[in-house]
Amino acid sequence: MAILTAEVISEFDGKVDANKLVYAPLNENASYQKTRVYFIEYAGKVTDAEQFVKRTLVDSYAEDVSFGCEPVLSGFAFFIDYGMKPGALDLEREAILASHRGARDKAMEILSLKLTQRIYIFSDGGVAPERFIRDVCNSAIHVWSVTDANDRDVA
């Protein structure tokens, strides 16, 4: 049993004005970029797990994947990871698991899957994460964490 972390980033969608994320204009200049992060607990070879990610979860023409826990981007003020609460129905996770269960020649077994959306916030000023959490995350269904540039959990 092992865990594979995969972060998928678009090759075509770069940084965008962070005002698109919030309901009221920001006082600071800030931009954001989104990625997807998959945490896969699996039984089998790591090469097979990586192959599953590349074949199922990544668009080879439009996306890059990075394996491991290091963030794929740098120079950010912080990033927010948010996903469905444990116990809440995560339809995307269920669709991926159902697709994998239906595969004939499974080289590895997925024991559990967690997926989160990651939003990197870039800013020269002192932009705070609270505004983004309030407007992006839904406390009824989401859990989230905020990590700063020094790899500290700040929310």
Binding site: S10, F12, D13, V16, K20, T56, L57, D59, S60, Y61, A62, L91, E92, A95, I96, S99, G102, A103, R104
Partner: protein, 247 residues
Amino acid sequence: MEERPNALLLKFPGTNCDGETARALEVAGFVTEVLPITRVTELALEAAHLVVLSGGFSYGDYVMAGRLAQLETERKLGDSLIRFRDKGGYLLGICNGFQILTKLGFLPRGSLINNTSGRFICHWTGLKREVSGNPFMNGLPESFELPVAHAEGRFIAPEGAAKSYLAKGLVALTYSSDINGSSSAIAGLTDESGRVLGLMPHPERFLWACNHYDPDWQGDGSEWGWGYMMFKSIHDTIAAELAVVSV
């Protein structure tokens, strides 16, 4: 009596344009069967002359539009669709169907990703027909309009490939303005045989002239819209082939 061509419309969980598309196929003259992907067999393919993947949000567009449908189709049909095409069958993918056909590798290499706006767009758009003699395009003028409705409609291709697709006649349709950031404004692609067509616009939503947003729209003066012409074109092509075979 003239044999009516058979169309097989494959439906995935989340496909939601199957009703209109089946109606369009019937109106154009096809005998149409709508089959969920779980029930499709090679036998069903053998009876079909045209296989259609209609629009919608297969598997909720999870991961990326068309990916889970691609995997399920490969599992369920293996190489059957390739054999179907190689034996002279026709394939049509509309919107989500275009995304699926692209991921299945039936169309020139590339992918359909999020619109540059990052938003779902839903409006009418001007289109330019880039090919002549394509079995899906007979009767269509050089410029016409169809509705679009998509979030992941920006076609991207490996460096320089989009222009080569245009030069090789693989681009069937282009947008008359940049609505989603597609390379070379590509709205529809065909394969080298011309028997596979994928397009983002929705021809099934413009069957009759009265579907047009302008109540005074005249078109070619008939009761039909441009979308109908597309279905009629492929119907007439297949019907002509069947007539030759039966003689």
